[in-house]
């Protein structure tokens, strides 16, 4: 069996790159390379933590939560890295998830109960 074509993924705002095969999603390829270039959440297209923007290159996507990627988002190249298969080398920008901070992580964000 010929090896799957592999593409270079450059994370421009983290100054990192890693290789990703065509049958792999970006996030899993990154984790296997022990890179720390994209934040990891559920790995299933649900939580939004690995939201990135693809600046250049061709790719295919599996279904992603509309709560995190609207149709407009998708047209502008925003995707969840756990659902993206590369078709060419890609230039991407990480860290596009706007967290509603958990009440433990952010004292100021804590809403007093009662």
């Amino acid at each position: 069996m010929p090896e799957q074509a592999s593409h270079l993924i450059t994370v421009v705002n983290r100054n990192q790159d890693f290789k990703c095969a065509e049958d792999q999603v970006l996030l899993i390829a990154m984790e296997r390379m022990r890179a720390n270039a994209i934040n990891v959440g559920c790995r299933g297209g649900g939580c939004g933590v690995c939201k990135i923007r693809i600046l250049q290159g061709e790719y295919e996507c599996k279904r992603m939560s509309k709560a995190h990627i609207s149709e407009t988002d998708q047209q502008q190249g925003y995707v969840l890295a756990c659902r993206v298969f590369p078709r060419t080398d890609l230039e991407i920008e990480a860290d596009h998830y706007q967290a509603q901070e958990s009440c433990y992580a952010n004292e100021d964000g804590r809403i007093a109960s009662g």
Binding site: R43, G46, C47, V49, K62, R63, S65, S102, A105
Partner: protein, 307 residues
């Protein structure tokens, strides 16, 4: 069971792809696939559960939880609680019998944390899967994966847990079994039970309403939890954390994600609660130990990754 609410009855979970989700809930976790309805929803149950189903998977654009339902003693209790929920100020909706196959009339209501809940009195009882009710064997043959025994509880995140706790305690008769208090005495987590279990539902304070942290399924032993961990590795399933033990409830546990990013838990053990028990308190300063008793360190993903 002060107000006649007996137990968790069902949870409807939104998934991006029902077939992929079935590989998780049926093949990996070992829930029994019961049937599909005309809307394409898949119904499942743990093998020890006597009612027809406890998990409903609905394909949608956005993963998360649609609602959790609790079973009450009888129709009289249902009618009484219906009135009390309206009086309390909830937005209440009546769902006709049969909207979920095999389930009677449901009373659906909203909550301050932004989650939807239901109560119902009747659901078709098909009995424990693969076992007779007379001289039952210890377990049925033909179970798969983790062999999850029952839907046990869920953990939900949202604002104003004080409001939802008040609703559950004062209208539905749940007891506060455990809590997390910050140094000012504000409750940031509450674990509620309606029977003897350590929890039937839990809430954690979070600014975003209606968020789903996990649905949890009961296993008998620590060995079963380790075997679940083996299966998670064998199948290359997205792992969150574990196997480990919680300080809160002292359950032994592992967390992982379904293919749409909804978190699942399988666990064993845990404390028990009677109505005369004072709530157990964990201090927010010691939240690491409260959540992960062995590592004693919080994993940011456990707190912030929600659907």
């Amino acid at each position: 069971m002060r107000k006649g609410v007996m137990r968790p009855g069902h949870i409807q979970i939104r998934v991006l792809d029902v077939e992929e989700a079935l590989k998780h809930y049926r093949d990996l976790m070992g829930l029994i696939e019961v049937e599909r309805d005309s809307q394409g929803r898949a119904y499942l149950k743990g093998w020890t559960e006597v009612d027809k189903f406890s998990v409903v998977l609905r394909e949608a654009d956005e993963p998360g939880m649609d609602f959790v339902g609790y079973k009450v003693l009888d129709n009289q209790t249902l009618a009484k609680l219906h009135g009390e929920l309206i009086e309390y100020g909830c937005n209440v909706e009546e769902i006709p019998a049969g909207e979920l196959n095999g389930c009677g009339r449901r009373i659906r209501f909203d909550s301050p944390t932004g989650h939807m809940f239901e109560i119902f009195a009747e659901k078709e009882q098909t009995g424990k899967w693969g076992l007779s009710n007379v001289n039952p064997e210890a377990w049925p043959r033909g179970l798969t994966g983790m062999k999850a025994t029952r839907f046990d509880h869920c953990l939900l995140y949202g604002p104003n847990i004080a409001g939802t706790l008040d609703l559950f305690r004062n209208v539905l008769g749940f007891e506060l079994a455990e809590q997390v208090l910050d140094p000012e005495g504000t409750r940031i987590a509450g674990f509620l039970t309606v029977g003897m279990k350590a929890h039937d539902v839990a809430f954690i304070e979070c600014p975003e309403p209606g968020k789903f942290h996990h649905a949890s399924f009961f296993l008998e032993t620590w060995e079963d939890v380790l075997r679940a961990a083996d299966l998670i590795s064998m199948e290359d399933v997205s792992l969150d954390i574990g196997p480990t033990r919680h300080g809160l409830t002292h359950g032994k546990t592992i967390y992982f994600f379904d293919p749409s990013g909804n978190r699942s838990e399988v666990f064993c053990g845990g404390d028990y609660h009677y109505p005369d028990h004072e709530p157990v308190t964990w201090k927010a300063e010691d939240l690491g130990k409260a959540i992960f008793y062995h590592d004693r360190v919080l994993n940011e993903r456990f707190l912030s990754v929600l659907t």
